[in-house]
Amino acid sequence: MTWFVTGASSGLGLEMVRLLVARGEAVCASGRRGVDDLPANFPDIPYRRCDLSDRVAVASLADWVTRQGPLHAAVLNAGAGYFRPLAQETPDAMARVLAINLDANIALAHRLHPVLSGGRLGLIGSVAHNGAAGMPVYAASKAALGGFGRALAEEWRGRVTVRVLHPGPVATGMAERAGRTPDFADRLFLPPRQTAAALLDALDAPRGADRQTVSFLRVGLHRLRKGAA
C-alpha cells in the first residue's frame, strides 16, 4: 500500500517522504520543483512536478497517483502564502494561495476518492486557521481547509479516515519565503523533522480526533515518547 505526499520538494513534505522511505513504506510524491531541482537528500521514489494552482495539472496528477495503485494514505501537505497585509496582496497572488491551499485539495480528495477506499486522508492545515493578522489570505485558506476536512471526515466515516492536522509554526523557511522578517521568535519555531514525524503518527494512529493541532505540546510529547522508546 502506497503513501502519497504533496509539497514533498521542501519543508514538512520533504521530511515526511524521507521518514516514510526510511521506514520502508512505498511512497509517491509531488512538488513544485522539477526533478532536477530536488534537494540532494530527496529519496529515490516516483515523483511528479505539479503546479497545484493549475486545475488541468491537478487532474493529471490525480490520474498519475491513481495508476500507483490503492493508497494507504494521501497527505495533502502542499501550501503557499504571503506574510503581508490584505491591501498589499494582488488578485493573482490571492487566487493562487486559495487555489493551492484549498481548491487543489478539494480536487485531489474528489479525484482520489476511489483509491483512498479503506485508507486515510491527511489535510495539513496550519495553526493560522484561527486567524492571523499578518497573513489574512493564508489564514482564510487554512480555515477553509479545516471546514472542508471537518465535513468530509463525517461524510466518509467508516470508509476513509479523514484528519485535519494543524501544525506550526515550523522552521521550514516558509515564513521567510512568505516575506516575514526573521526575528527572535524564529528560534522558537518547531523543528521540521520532528513535526513531520508527529504529523505522520497523528494521521496513522488508529484512534484520534478529526481535527488536531500538532504544535509545541504535541511535537514535544512525541519527541519524549520516541526518546524513551
Binding site: A95, P136, A140, E155
Partner: protein, 237 residues
C-alpha cells in the same frame, strides 16, 4: 449612511436591503442578477475587466459606512458524487470573490472610518456541515478572513463582524435543504436582518436556536458534527 450589500436581490441580502432602506440609508447592491439600481457582478468570476468595472463602481458610490457580504451559493449532496465544477464554483463565489472584494475595498480606501464590515458566514462554522463540504469550507474560510482582519481594521476605525446564521426561510435554504424537509424552525430573513443590524459584537448569532447550536458546537465539536451528519447528510443520500 451609505450601505453596500452583496447578494442584495434575494434572501437575507434583500431583507438587509429592506431594513436599511426603511431606516433611511442609501443602499447600493451587488448581485449576479441584474436589476434596477443593482450593479451586476458574478462573485465567482475571474474576468479582470468585470473586477475593474466593479472597482470603478465602488469608487463612484463609496466610501461606505456599512458593507454586508451576503451573497452566497451552496452545493449539497455527497461530496464525491457532486461534480467537482460545482465545488469550485462554491469556493469561488463564497470565498475567493468576497476576499477579492474586501481587497478592493481595503486597497481602494472605500471604507469610511467608523464603518462596519460584516461577513455573512454560516452556523456551519460552529457545527460543521457534512453534505456541503465545499460550502462549509468557504464559510470557515470567510470566518478565518474576518478573524484575521479584525485587529488591523480596528486600527483604522473599521469594525469587522462575523455573522453565523442558522437555516433561514430564504430561497437559498429551500434550494439546498434535504428534500421534504420542513421550513418550520427556519428564521424569517427580516428578523435575522434586524438582529444583524443592531448587533455590536464580533460574532453575531441571530436567534436563540443558532446561539444554542453554536454553544454546543463549541463545547463538543465532534458530537455536533456527527449530529449534523445524522439530521442532514443521511437524508441527502
Amino acid at each position: 449612511m451609505k450601505v453596500l450589500i452583496t447578494g442584495g436581490v434575494s434572501g437575507l441580502g434583500a431583507a438587509l436591503a429592506r431594513a436599511c432602506t426603511a431606516r433611511g440609508d442609501t443602499v447600493h447592491s451587488l448581485d449576479i442578477v441584474p436589476g434596477p439600481g443593482i450593479h451586476a457582478h458574478d462573485m465567482a468570476g475571474t474576468d479582470a475587466a468585470a473586477w475593474a468595472a466593479l472597482g470603478e463602481w465602488l469608487a463612484a458610490q463609496g466610501p461606505f459606512d456599512l458593507v454586508l457580504l451576503s451573497a452566497g451559493i451552496s452545493a449539497t449532496g455527497r461530496f464525491e458524487t457532486t461534480p467537482l465544477a460545482d465545488h469550485h464554483k462554491v469556493t469561488a463565489a463564497n470565498l475567493s470573490g468576497p476576499t477579492r472584494l474586501v481587497h478592493l475595498l481595503d486597497s481602494g480606501d472605500h471604507l469610511r472610518p467608523g464603518a462596519r464590515l460584516v461577513f455573512i458566514a454560516s452556523l456551519s462554522c460552529f457545527t460543521g456541515y457534512p453534505g456541503a463540504a465545499s460550502y462549509a469550507a468557504s464559510k470557515d474560510g470567510l470566518a478565518g478572513l474576518a478573524r484575521s482582519l479584525r485587529a488591523p481594521m480596528r486600527k483604522r476605525g473599521v469594525r469587522v463582524q462575523l455573522v453565523c446564521p442558522g437555516p433561514m426561510d430564504t430561497p437559498h435554504a429551500t434550494r439546498y435543504a434535504p428534500e421534504g424537509s420542513s421550513a418550520k424552525g427556519r428564521m424569517p430573513p427580516d428578523k435575522a436582518a434586524r438582529a444583524i443590524l443592531r448587533s455590536r459584537g464580533f460574532v453575531i448569532l441571530p436567534g436563540a436556536g443558532a446561539k444554542l447550536a453554536a454553544l454546543a458546537g463549541r463545547i463538543t465539536p465532534q458530537t455536533m458534527t456527527r449530529l449534523m451528519g445524522k439530521v442532514l447528510f443521511s437524508k441527502l443520500k
